[in-house]
Symmetry: C2
Subunit: 406 residues, 2 copies
């Protein structure tokens, strides 16, 4: 019996650690071949896949795989039609035929809520047609916006990266002792988990960020500028973390106030960019201060050189738990992380029907946000702090972190 | 006898390692007090300084100082008048009086070519007035554009950071297997040393960047777009490293073609920003491809979490060598790095009159740039490779790299 695994959606720094977990667990449980879909279900439909059992023969490759950011197998943003819809039969029967030709018993898909949509539909189709193939979802997203799971693999490393670079940006921004407003734009369309991680920078050696702007609460440009003006009366260098997805009370994204073009992807999501630049320009025009905008951009999701060991270990574990679940007969499920205790931090895995997860978004509880909407309460720190603990050093070759790639 | 030290110009990840080198060497050579100017000569003129001997008492603080990015003492961009100019007497006699009040025998200034201008003028004034104070420059700049010295402390770490993140960006940009042009904007006003470091990404595990655009050679927008079009015929995801300072044949910066406002600093340098965005927008309008622009921004100069041990060690050494030089009676000199051999890499220090260095810029030799102006020749790799070797791990506390600050 063979298994197949794919990666979908945006890359993370630890998505390949989940791939390593699936691969090693499937091999140790007796899978003859572990196939990898190239560019997810989209590439598989074009017969693009590899036999990972043939490629990853040397144990050093597995270690490098765990430390290689971005999706080793490639990714896609491909939305399957509803299996119940007319005209959907062609694509599903094509997928099933290809899976049966490869003697696939278990199908794993590592991704976020769009990817869980794929697992939900495939398992539904499988059930409708009496297929024996088991479909299991492996959670992954820096956005941390999957419901049911305590957190998502990928988030801890991105949060650690954001905490570390915010401290560095704060140190950098204070050197001249002049009026200076730095606005750092952080990913997160509708959920502010990543932006909230900027609050982790505060500590005995760092004054922390002066404001955090989340998509969970409405954004008011005038109130924002007035707040900056007031803070700057007592503090020359201000550093602000702002989510790319902050929205006005009328639902428009702040970045839509700028002149940039905004493309739309296959799932209907608008490309968000330019929030920090818009706010920095607006402040520069209104207040007597220098401004700088910094977009963390892809660096926050691909910084394999700065990962949380807690995160990379859990990413591996959810991969392994997915294989265990499938081999024990489950289908249509996603592996979720369940926090047992916070001090000491302990976390285990459990299964949840993927239909309860697909296409839903978990946002930051409003009671974790300060009343004036600009800082995180201790509840958030307690939640996020364990997820960024410990490091997994890259393997440096010739001065640079070394990777594997197809 | 006491000494005083200041930091000036843009921050780097290792400028505080030079400060640690000055501090520890001065203490071990018998300085009673090591004073630190807050915000360089500008803050010193306002009597803002600290007694580092009182602050840095615990050896762990020195270790943290070496690993703390940005200027511990704060920085400034302050241009002294010519000591020969009319009306310059007031500022120089104010400085000298303050120095004499503190019983300063040696004055160290850690910075780039603007800072060496300060050392040149102070030592000239000292000579004119028969002062016994010795003025020594300690080189520092991520830009690597100081003449005489083989390279500058700060460059190796910035180059290593750029090499590492370019590899990560290349991995990230290839995941979807779709047409995609990523343009990464890297610092460097007139010298392309940092942008050239993107060439280090190429190796057995990485295909490297597809184009490197340097300020040393004239930039032609149409030729650039045609080159992108040609490369994309065979390769869907293209990653391009472009210097913020690329210029047209007529001398205008490419970023001036965009609509952004461009401020000017005290030394008359225009703020450069928007080069990558302009090029990405131009490509998106012209070619059928998705584009993304990434500005490495301040992260490339403040990434204390990813430094070159070679660099951080040399930064410490030039600080120590400056103290040795001053205590042996030299003044008006800068410590330079002299490469003895490349394989094995060996480097020592020597002194050069600061008047030969101030206000000059060292650019990349044109013979190190490929004939089509888009890649680096092996001569550059041979030069830069030793400078990024080995790592100095941050001290992580609570999951984040720990710093010291005033």
């Amino acid at each position: 019996m063979n298994v197949i695994v794919g990666q979908s959606g945006g890359p993370t720094a630890v998505i390949n650690s989940s791939l390593a977990g699936v691969f090693e667990s499937a091999v140790s449980r007796g899978a003859d071949h572990v196939y990898g879909m190239c560019n997810g279900i989209s590439g598989f439909l074009e017969d693009r896949y590899v036999d990972m059992t043939e490629i990853l023969k040397d144990p050093i490759d597995i270690e490098l795989l765990k430390r290689t950011p971005s999706s080793y197998l490639g990714s896609c943003r491909y939305k399957l039609p509803d299996p119940e819809a007319k005209d959907s039969e062609a694509v599903y029967s094509a997928i099933m035929k290809k899976l049966n030709n490869l003697d696939i018993g278990c199908f794993f898909y590592i991704g976020g809520n769009d990817s869980m949509d794929t697992i939900a539909k495939l398992s539904r189709y499988g059930e409708m047609t009496g297929s024996k193939i088991r479909f299991i979802g492996v959670p992954k997203t820096i956005d941390n916006d999957l419901v049911v799971t305590d957190h998502t693999p990928g988030y801890g490393s991105a949060a650690k990266y954001i905490g570390v670079v915010m401290k560095e940006i704060i140190r950098d921004a204070t050197v001249y002792g002049t009026n200076y407003v730095t606005i750092v734009e952080i990913m997160g369309r509708n959920a502010g988990w990543l932006t909230a991680a900027a609050s982790l920078a505060k500590g005995s050696d760092c004054e922390g960020v002066d404001m955090i702007c989340l998509p969970e609460v409405p954004f008011d440009v005038d109130r924002f500028i007035e707040k900056v003006r007031r803070i700057q009366e007592n503090k020359k260098s201000i550093v602000i973390a702002v989510s790319e997805g902050v929205k006005l009370a009328d639902g428009r994204y702040v970045c839509e106030l700028s002149d940039d073009v905004h493309a739309v992807d296959a799932f209907g999501h608008k490309a968000l960019t330019g929030t920090a630049r818009f706010l920095a320009n607006t402040i520069a025009k209104t207040l007597n201060t220098k401004t700088r905008c910094i977009e963390l951009s892809t660096l926050q999701r691909c910084a394999g050189h700065l990962t949380s060991r807690t995160d990379i270990t859990e990413a591996y574990q959810v991969g392994g738990a997915a294989v265990k679940a499938a081999f024990e007969g489950n289908t249509g499920q996603m592996v979720a992380l369940k926090r047992i205790s916070n001090s000491p931090y302990q976390c285990t895995t459990e299964l949840h029907p993927v239909s309860e997860i697909a296409n839903l978004e978990k946002k930051i509880p409003l009671e974790w946000i300060s009343d004036d909407h600009t800082q995180m309460k201790p509840e958030f720190i307690d939640y996020a702090f364990p997820l960024i603990q410990a490091e997994l050093t890259p393997i440096f070759v010739g001065g640079l972190s070394h990777h594997v790639h197809l």
